[in-house]
Each structure stands twice: as structure tokens, then as C-alpha cells.
Subunit: 210 residues, 2 copies
């Protein structure tokens, strides 16, 4: 049996489906920073996330990045579903934010299981549901918040998914993911520090729980 499959997905999928996943899926571990998917690539398998965090990014034609959302335990990548069904290229980049454990499912099985297992159907639809809602939240942030609030939200989201109030990153990296410049981030971080929301160190930002 694939490591941790039963423990993580046993309550969602029926026994028969668990057995099928066990037979056709592949267990995989990736280290922090590993690129799981690149824009323009064709997708050959679909990930079931067991532990760790995956960040999903969008990029425009000029190489400008934007963080869309994080995937956590129990999630799958709706964008992958998207690509599998439409046989189109990936529209996004996916990178391991932390060390992560996942099960890779060959895409041919997807459609087969959709017809066969109600639990799989519900899982796939729930994934789309969750992703649409996260995209809405992303749109809310970009459209309705100013950069200081977006930054604070970004830091809190990051702390939540990594379960760590100390965020190890650089101002430049944050700037990439929020699609702004390093100087702007440094300026706003200093402002947040003066407000008592955070403490700043080199390569480290500590969230102060108010």
C-alpha cells in the first residue's frame, strides 16, 4: 500500500477506489523549491497532496509573476484537471513551498473514475469549487485591497499554510509573488514593523499576534 494513502484518503474514497489508486498511483516526495509544473507544459499526471504546501503562480508574457494560491493537505490541482480534460497546456506554474508528499495519478484513470465512483466525482467537483473560491479571493485582494493590506494578508496566509509565524523569505521574493518591486515591499514592511504587526530580520519575518 502506498505510504499514508489509507490514512489520508480512506475517509473520502471507498475501499475499491483506494485499491485502484494504490495500484496505478505513484508515491512521490519533492523538496522545497521543486518545480512540479511549468507554464506551457502538457500534463501527464494529477497530484493528490498528502502533506506539505504547493504554491501556484501565474505569469504574463513579460515574465511578471503573481501568486494565485496555496495547495494544502487533501487538495489536488484543479488546473491539472483542467488540462487533462481539455488536453491543453498548463496555464500556471506550481512550486513546492515546503517539502511535500504526494501521489501521482495517471490522467487516463481520471475520466474512468468519474463514471465509476461517486466519491471521486465529488472530490473532483469539490476541488474545482475550492479553486474557484480561492481565485475569487485572489481577485478580491488585487482589485479591492491596497498593497499594505495585500502584503499583510500574504504574510498571514503564508504563516497559516506553513503553520509557522516565522516566514523565511526575502523582500525580493515577496515582491515577485505580489507583482510589485522590492523597494515597495521593504517600505511597507518597515511600516508594518512600526505598527507592531511584524518584526524584521534578514531572510526572516516574524508575525506578531496582536
Amino acid at each position: 500500500m502506498i505510504k499514508e494513502l489509507q490514512a489520508n484518503y480512506g475517509h473520502i474514497f471507498e475501499e475499491e477506489l483506494i485499491n485502484e489508486i494504490n495500484q496505478t498511483g505513484t508515491y512521490r516526495e519533492v523538496h522545497e523549491g521543486h518545480k512540479l509544473m511549468e507554464i506551457g507544459e502538457y500534463v501527464k499526471s494529477m497530484p493528490l497532496l498528502i502533506s506539505g504546501v504547493i504554491k501556484v503562480l501565474r505569469e504574463d508574457g513579460d515574465g511578471d509573476e503573481l501568486l494565485l494560491y496555496f495547495l494544502e493537505h487533501g487538495d489536488t490541482c484543479a488546473m491539472t484537471l483542467n488540462c487533462c480534460m481539455g488536453h491543453t497546456k498548463s496555464e500556471v506554474r506550481a512550486i513546492a513551498e515546503t517539502h511535500a508528499k504526494l501521489i501521482m495519478i495517471p490522467i487516463q484513470k481520471m475520466e474512468e473514475w468519474l463514471a465509476k465512483y461517486t466519491s471521486w466525482r465529488n472530490f473532483v467537483l469539490l476541488s474545482y469549487h475550492n479553486r474557484l473560491n480561492e481565485m475569487l479571493e485572489t481577485i478580491d485582494s488585487i482589485a479591492f485591497l491596497r498593497m499594505d493590506d495585500r502584503l499583510l494578508k500574504y504574510l498571514r496566509d503564508k504563516a497559516r499554510v506553513t503553520k509557522d509565524n516565522e516566514i523565511s523569505t526575502t523582500h525580493q521574493q515577496i515582491a515577485y509573488e505580489l507583482h510589485t518591486s522590492r523597494v515597495v515591499i521593504s517600505r511597507l514592511l518597515k511600516k508594518l514593523e512600526n505598527l507592531g504587526e511584524i518584526e524584521l530580520y534578514r531572510n526572516q519575518i516574524k508575525l506578531v499576534n496582536a
Copy 2:
């Protein structure tokens, strides 16, 4: 037989499903400006669009609006799917941009048909697919474009879905949908007119095909 059902969906759904839709669905016409869904409302039925255009809008807590995308012929509202599956309230507002014809399906049928009809499953998944891609495009616009390019894209999108190069609207209305102010829109429209991209009249904007 419900008006135009066979003609519009006969090539997508099998005969048996068409018959079921005919028995349980309701034909409906709505006039321009009709509100089909409001934020916070529970959703009791799912629309299949036959003709016309529906615009889907997001709103933040302060009443600030933002246009997300247009629904056209053959589309359904993935947000509705979302709500039906999760039994949650609507996250968006939907308003008829033009006179529109649609078929309303009671939500109980949705899950039943997912198990029963492959074509329905594919239709639902394709809807999610299309909506995710449109959300991505929306995010691209907000995150990567400046207001002048967003405005031009907005005008061209609107002209495309209504199949009309003359757009009947006010600067104030555009400002609401792009979440900016009337003065900004007037200023940028004038700039676009000077560039020869459009011609401005009262309640009317004409796109000049370059």
C-alpha cells in the same frame, strides 16, 4: 419540447438527457438589466444559456463592484454549480447584459445526471474549465495591465459578446465595472479617442477597427 432546446443542446447531450431536461427544466426569457442572482442568496436552479449575454460581477464589503466575465450561448454558471454542490450562498451577482433566453434546471437533478450521463459530466467539467480560464484572464487584466489597456480590453470584450461595435453605456457604468472612478474613465476614453481607437458620443462608444 422546450423552445430551442434540441437545436442548442442536441449535439452536446444524448436524446434521453434532452428528454429529461425537457421534462424538468423551465424555459425563461429575461430582459436586459434583469438580476438573475444576488450575492448571499441561495441558489435553487441552474441556468443553461440559449441566447443573450449574462454578466457576472463581484462585490466587496463596501459595495465596490468588479466585472468578472460574460456568459454566452452554451454556457452555464459554474458559480451556481459551486453553490449547488456545497449548498452555500452565491459569491457573485449575475445580471442580463442583453435580453436572454435560458432553461432553468432544478438543482436536485444535477447530481443525479452526473452519475447517469457522461455528456452531462463533461458539460459540467467543461463549464468549470471555462470559468477557471476566464477567472485567470480577469486576474491577468487586473494584475498586469494598466487602466487604459484594461479599458480597451473591456470595450472589445463587450463588443465581441454583444456582436456590436457600438457600445451603449455611460462612463459611470464602465467605472463601476472596472472598479475605478468616472473621471478616470472619461480621461482615458478621451485619450483613446485621440489615439483613434474609439469615437465618443453621449451614451455611446464606437470602436474603430484599426
